[in-house]
C-alpha cells in the first residue's frame, strides 16, 4: 500500500508526474461536466482533527469530481472531541471500508502513526500533521510556480523562491523546502532568527534576515501565516515590528521583478504578514492556489488510490 506522508515519499520523477497529472485534471475542472468516473466505488474519508477550510474542501471537491464516496469526519462533533484515541478512530474507519484516509491532525507524526499502525488497510494521505509536513500544499505551490514561471512543464530548475515568516511552526515551509529543492528551485528562507528552526542550517537553502535585500532576486514569494495558536513564547517584540520588517505591502512588492508571483497558503492575517493591498494585487495568486489545490488533490487521489486493489493483494 502506498501512502503520501511526506515529500520524502516521492522522488523527482514522480513529483513531476503528479504535476503533469494535475495539469490534465485542471481541464476537467474547466469543463462543462466536472465529473470523472475514475474512483467510482472507492471511499475516501476526510479525517480532520484540526480546523481547516481550504485543504478539507479541496480534498472533498477532488474526491467528488473523481466519483469517490466521501465521508467527512471532523474533531468537533465527533468522538475525537470526547477523547477517543487515534487507534479507535482508525478502527472505526476500517470498519467503514475506507480505501483512503486523508488526515489532518495537530500532532506531528499522526499520519505516520496511522499508516504504520496497521489499524487500517487503506492509503493514508497526510493533509498536515502538527509542525511536520503538508505535502499536498507543497505540490500545489510547485504547480502554481511551474504554471506561471515554467509554462506548466518540466521541473523548477533555476527558479528563485523566498519562503517568508514563521518557518519554525510551518509544515508548509518544511514540505516546500523538500519539494522545491528536489525540483531544482533555489530556496531562500526569510524570517527573524527566532522563527528559523536550528536544523534549517543543514537544509539546502539560503537563510536571510533582511527581506528587502532578497526581494529583487525572487521569482516567487511564499508568505507564511503567523501561527498564533502554536506560539507559546514571545518570538518577536510586537506585531507592528514584525509587520514592518517581514510583512509584504505594496512598497515591498514594488522591489520585486514584474513577473514575480506572490503566494500565501491561507488563511491570511491581513495587515500582519501581508497587507490587504498586496493580497489583492495583480501579482497575488492566492485565489488561484485554491483552484490549483483541487487539481493537485485529484492527481494525488488518482495516482495513490486507483489500482490500489492490486497492490493490497500483493
Amino acid at each position: 500500500m502506498r501512502h503520501l506522508l511526506s515529500i520524502n515519499d516521492i522522488d523527482k520523477d514522480f513529483a513531476i508526474t503528479i504535476l503533469d497529472t494535475a495539469h490534465e485534471m485542471a481541464r476537467v475542472s474547466e469543463g462543462a461536466v466536472k465529473k470523472l468516473p475514475t474512483l467510482r466505488g472507492k471511499t475516501v474519508v476526510n479525517l480532520f482533527a484540526e480546523d481547516s477550510t481550504r485543504t478539507r474542501i479541496s480534498f472533498e471537491a477532488a474526491a467528488k469530481r473523481l466519483s469517490a464516496d466521501v465521508i467527512n469526519f471532523t474533531a468537533k462533533g465527533s468522538s475525537i472531541s470526547k477523547g477517543e484515541s487515534l487507534k479507535d478512530t482508525a478502527q472505526t474507519l476500517q470498519a467503514l471500508g475506507a480505501d483512503a484516509v486523508v488526515i489532518r491532525h495537530p500532532a506531528s507524526g499522526a499520519a505516520h502513526q496511522l499508516a504504520r499502525g496497521k489499524w487500517i488497510s487503506g492509503t493514508v494521505i497526510n493533509a498536515g500533521d502538527g509542525t511536520h509536513e503538508h505535502p499536498s500544499q507543497a505540490l500545489l505551490d510547485a504547480f502554481t510556480i511551474r504554471k506561471h514561471l515554467r509554462g506548466g512543464k518540466g521541473d523548477l530548475s533555476g527558479v528563485e523562491v523566498a519562503i517568508v515568516g514563521d518557518i519554525l511552526h510551518s509544515r508548509v515551509a518544511r514540505s516546500n523546502v523538500l519539494l522545491l529543492t528536489k525540483l531544482g528551485a533555489k530556496v531562500t528562507l526569510v524570517a527573524p532568527p527566532t522563527l528559523i528552526p536550528p536544523q534549517a542550517q543543514a537544509w539546502p537553502v539560503t537563510i536571510s534576515y533582511d527581506f528587502n535585500s532578497v526581494l529583487p532576486h525572487m521569482d516567487a514569494i511564499i508568505m507564511l501565516r503567523i501561527q498564533q495558536e502554536r506560539m507559546s513564547d514571545l518570538y518577536f517584540p510586537s506585531e507592528r515590528e514584525y509587520s514592518s520588517l517581514f510583512g509584504i505591502d505594496t512598497e515591498r512588492l514594488a522591489l520585486t521583478k514584474p513577473h514575480s508571483i506572490l503566494m500565501h497558503p491561507g488563511p491570511m492575517n491581513r495587515g500582519l504578514e501581508i497587507s490587504a493591498e498586496a493580497a489583492d494585487s495583480p501579482q497575488s495568486v492566492v485565489v488561484e492556489q485554491v483552484a490549483n489545490g483541487v487539481s493537485i488533490r485529484m492527481a494525488i487521489l488518482y495516482l495513490f488510490i486507483a489500482g490500489s486493489q492490486e497492490s493490497s493483494n500483493e
Partner: protein, 177 residues
C-alpha cells in the same frame, strides 16, 4: 520477421481511409478528428493533413485521452495521463471521427465514447483504425479500417510510426510468429 504492413501499405491505407471518410460524410466541413494518444493521435493528424490536401480547407483535429475512463483502473496501476486537446469549435453537433492505431478488445473505444460524452454531444461518432486485429470483447466495430489482421490472442501487434519510432510499419510479434 516480415512486416504485416510496410511503409507503402500504411500510406495507401491512410489515403484510402481519408477518401472513405470524405465520401461517407459528403466533405469535411462537419468533421472533427480526434486521435487517442499516443499513436492514434499521430494517425489522426496524418488523416487530417491528407483530408486537407484533398479538400483544400483546414480540418478540425485534436487528441482525446481516455485514461481516466478506463474500466481496469481498479485492477491496474495508475498510468500517467496523456494530453487532451479539443479544437476550439468543440464537438457539439459535429461528426467526430475517433482514431486509434489498433482495434482489439474494444475497451479503449468504449472509454473514448465515455470521455467524449463529457465534452459534449456530437451529432455522430465514427471510428477509424489502422489495424483491426479481432478478439472483440464488446459490441464495437470500426467504420474505416486500414487492414484486417487476423491474429492469435497470444500475439501482439506493434504499430511503429515515423513520428515516434523513426519508421512506418506494423509487426506481429508473439508465439506463432
Amino acid at each position: 520477421m516480415s512486416a504485416a504492413l510496410t511503409t507503402a501499405d500504411i500510406s495507401r491505407a491512410l489515403t484510402r481511409i481519408s477518401h472513405e471518410i470524405l465520401e461517407r460524410n459528403s466533405g469535411s466541413s462537419q468533421l472533427t478528428i480526434l486521435g487517442i494518444p499516443t499513436r492514434g493521435a499521430d494517425i489522426a493528424y496524418r488523416l487530417a493533413s491528407i483530408i486537407e490536401s484533398i479538400e483544400g480547407v483546414p480540418v478540425e483535429v485534436g487528441t482525446l485521452d481516455i485514461t481516466l475512463h478506463r474500466d481496469d483502473l481498479r485492477i491496474r496501476a495508475p498510468r500517467p495521463l496523456m494530453e487532451t486537446s479539443i479544437p476550439a469549435a468543440g464537438v457539439e453537433g459535429r461528426t467526430v471521427i475517433l482514431v486509434d492505431d489498433v482495434l482489439f478488445s474494444g475497451r479503449t473505444i468504449r472509454s473514448a465514447l465515455d470521455a467524449l460524452g463529457e465534452i459534449g454531444r456530437p451529432e455522430r461518432v465514427q471510428l477509424a483504425v489502422l489495424v483491426d486485429r479481432g478478439h472483440r470483447e464488446l459490441p464495437i466495430r470500426a467504420d474505416f479500417v486500414g487492414k484486417n489482421l487476423p491474429t492469435a490472442k497470444s500475439e501482439s501487434v506493434k504499430v511503429r510510426l515515423v513520428e515516434r519510432d523513426g519508421i512506418d510499419e506494423v509487426l506481429i510479434e508473439g508465439e506463432s510468429a
